[in-house]
């Protein structure tokens, strides 16, 4: 009998080895697939059953909170509707998480993950209630920015140039995160399919031709060479024929920028003189321009809470193509910039040439509202020398005082800026305003830098310009900042 018993024993052990193999396969090989399967309710239940903390603004307005429903499941609510939608994002069991809800999920979740460590921690009197995320956004500025932009498609982004803290971030059209978090999936899908792209955060995730606002960088490049200063006289032309091309550059009013002889660099920026800047671009050359542009962060990635669209100046062939260089100097052709990038450019001028790393989360608070950790401001990169920034600040102040940006002037505050009107083939222009204030601040004085973009000329359509459409929006935000 023993030979047969030995075979049976071998067969039994083989069966158990097969079981061990099957277990290894199901847990180690196929396991991740089962774990992430949409029909596996674990992640959903975890979300529904674990408390989630609030998101509040810097001035204490609650913009996301959780409420326990009648069935014991938690519902995520966004009391301010679409005002903060692009920042908070949404926490949806159907669409997933976006925005701060996704990037700060670990902070917002309760510390009670059911682990032994958590249980011991609580036994020892630890606090496992979920933390709150406090944004850098100021509710007053956010409201003013949203109201000023109104129904026009575009974006407003404002930040503190000395820290990088984002003070306002509005993108229109927006969306109500309540719809995506708790509403009918069909409504969420409709938002996704909407041709106006309400889910697109235009402030950071869309890049536009910057138009004349780009002249700030051309001026920075010129000043950086050391051969120019704000008083340098440039030739004043009514038109500029581009070499090796039939194209002709004209000014926006088809005339001269000044007296028809010469114009200072500062004045050329103030009146946004196309012919002068196109010539300047060709004079300083592609290398100097690229150095200044990339120094400000173009062709790179901005470190931020969310992924951002790239702001680009494709360097290929620019050195050998003078017409392209001339048009690039006017912020046309292949240059693209996000409102965030342009706001950071204004912030660089305001901050002595250094760009601080932009951020959206001011602090993590415990359930009682006490700070448990504070975001520390850190430098991202130096865009320009301090002297260049000082000269640019003076020039940009002239844009407001006596130039195209006069509509952004705030009584009692020294505001600087630059307008931009980017021609879009076959359509109304995308219009810009970038600016900051105050110029030459006292130590400790609050500071702000801003970028406003409005697509397709906004309410003025084809007649829209940076000065007429974007500057007034910035003015309201700046006035609210300095007035309050």
């Amino acid at each position: 009998m023993n030979p047969a018993l030995r075979r049976l024993a071998a067969a039994c052990l083989a069966g158990l080895v097969l079981v061990a193999g099957g277990l290894t396969f199901q847990q180690a090989v196929a396991g991740p697939g089962y774990r992430d399967d949409l029909r596996n309710p674990r992640a959903l239940l975890d979300r529904a059953e674990r408390p989630r903390g609030q998101i509040v603004t810097a001035d204490g307005v609650v913009v996301a909170r959780s409420e326990e429903g009648a069935d014991g499941a938690r519902v995520r609510l966004y009391p301010e509707g679409d005002l903060y939608g692009h920042v908070t994002g949404y926490a949806s069991s159907y669409f997933g998480d976006t925005g701060i809800e996704a990037t700060r999920a670990a902070d917002l979740r309760s510390g009670n993950d059911g682990s032994l460590t958590a249980a011991l921690f609580r036994l020892l009197g630890g606090d496992l209630r979920p933390h709150q995320v406090q944004l850098t956004l100021r509710d007053d500025l956010q409201r003013v920015a949203a109201a000023a932009l109104g129904e026009q498609r575009g974006a407003v982004i404002a930040l503190d140039p000395s820290t990088g803290a984002i003070l306002a971030l509005v993108s229109h059209p927006g969306f109500d995160p309540n719809v995506l978090a708790t509403g009918d999936p069909a409504e969420g899908n409709a938002l996704d399919a909407d041709p106006d792209q309400p889910l697109l955060n235009r402030a950071i995730a869309a890049a536009y031709p910057p138009g004349s606002s780009f002249k700030v960088l051309v001026a920075a490049a010129a000043l950086a060479t050391g051969d120019y200063d704000p008083g340098t006289e440039l030739e004043d032309r009514d038109e500029l024929a581009l070499p090796g091309s039939t194209a002709v550059i004209r000014n926006s009013d088809e005339g001269f920028c000044g007296d028809g002889a010469t114009i200072t660099l500062q004045r050329a920026l103030a009146v946004s003189c196309n012919t002068a800047f196109a010539a300047l671009g060709m004079e300083i050359g592609a290398g100097a321009l690229l150095a200044a542009v990339e120094g400000a962060g173009f062709n790179g990635t901005i470190p931020f809470d969310f992924p951002t669209a790239a702001s680009v100046l494709p360097p290929d062939g620019l050195a050998d193509d003078l017409p392209a260089l001339a048009q690039t100097a006017l912020g046309q052709r292949d240059v693209r910039a996000t409102p965030l990038q342009m706001a950071l450019l204004a912030a660089a001028v305001a901050n002595g040439g250094e760009i601080m790393r932009p951020y959206l989360v001011r602090a993590i608070l415990n359930a009682d509202g006490e700070e448990t950790s504070l975001t520390r401001a850190s430098a991202w990169r130096r865009a320009m020398a301090e002297e260049v920034a000082a000269a640019l600040a003076q020039m940009m102040e002239a844009v407001i005082a006596d130039g195209t940006g006069w509509r952004a002037a705030v009584p009692g505050a020294r505001v600087a800026g630059k307008t931009g009107t980017a021609e879009v083939p076959g359509g109304a222009p995308d219009v810009w305003f970038i600016g900051f204030g105050p110029v030459d601040p006292e130590p400790g004085e609050p500071r702000i830098a801003i970028a406003v973009l409005v697509e397709d000329g906004g309410s003025l359509g084809e007649d829209g310009s940076g000065g007429s459409v974007a500057a007034p929006i910035a003015q309201k935000v700046l006035a609210a900042f300095f007035g309050g």
Partner: protein, 429 residues
Amino acid sequence: MSRLTEAALVCLAAAVAAVGAALAPLAAGDLPTYDTLLAPAVFLAAFGGLLLAVRRWAPRAARTLLPLAALLTAVGWVEVARVDRDLGRLQLWWLLVGATLAAATLFVLRRRGVGVLRRYRYLFLVAGLGLLLLPLLPSGWPVRGVTINGSRLWVRLQAGDLSLSFQPGEAAKLLIVAFLASYLADRHRALTNMPRRLGPVSLPEPRQLLPVLLAFGVSFAVLIYQRDLGASLLLFVVFAAMLFAATGRYAYPAAALALLAGGGLAAYRYFGHVRVRVEAWLHPFADFAGSGYQVAQGLFALGSGGLTGTGLGAGRPDLIPAAATDFIFAALAEELGLAGGLAVVAAYALLAAAGFGIALRARDPFRKLLAGGLTLTLVVQTVLILGGILRLLPLTGITLPFMSYGGSSLLANLVLIALLARVSHEEGS
């Protein structure tokens, strides 16, 4: 292994129960309850008592059996108590009853040994078959069958307000193995000879085959009338394996395989519940909300556990149907991961090795077949349910020995260990 090591390992199993009993309430955010103290006390009492019974009435028994059984019971209990605290408490009582019954088995056999069982083999056969068919008793009787989850494998004893449910199939498997061991020990020569010829196939005397065919018939009856795929498959495989062990003839497993294939095909064709099981096995996600639900939930649990598991108390056994009984292993593998699951499988393999070792060392055919048959029962049952959870086999509703919640199962398996211990004592040096 020294006696001290054996005792230390049994204490280790009690420690596992203690740690589990402390962890489960902590994970739910509660302070440890009195169960935390009760559990190790019961484990020490049950397995310590059983250890003393073995020392007294089977002192030369293999020393690996009890520590392994204690460990598996402890790990299983921790998960059962974590899935359902009330079931955990009940299981502790079942453990005490089971250990007492196992000790009583050793006591009864203390003088005359397991050999005495041979005398009662036809009683065992009748009792075993009777127990198997007991659930078919009509409702309304004081002792009656109960249908749970579409299978009629429960019996409820009703006396006034008192009612007690049990699964007679668990006890029946021991009785039938004892019968087969005894019957085959006498007849293995007759069954090895195959004088009759039917074309190219050699056959033993038909008279000799009669009880064997009867046993096969019963396992199919169980399948048809009680819809108990697990028990019928278990019986069937154990019959075939014991025939092979007794005769060394491949003709028996081959014939069994042919019968199984034919019977399986017929069952698939004519029984809806078999077809549903097979469909759920092949395509668990095709009817996710229906027949595939349990298998799919088990797979989700396994996948969510991953390599190291979620940790005790952090899994979601509430999502797995029958997490405390048939699917205890899925709940366990979610919380303890592949590491814990493999450790459990290894413990079963060690138990199997110990059991077959006892069978191989036994000198007399009855003891050989008894130890072999009992070990086979244990391993086949384990492979059937684990294979079902892991989608290696169609899912058959059957308990995981020592680990699943269930008094009948725990009682039967503890007695099984006692019988193995007794055989090893009698054959020990």
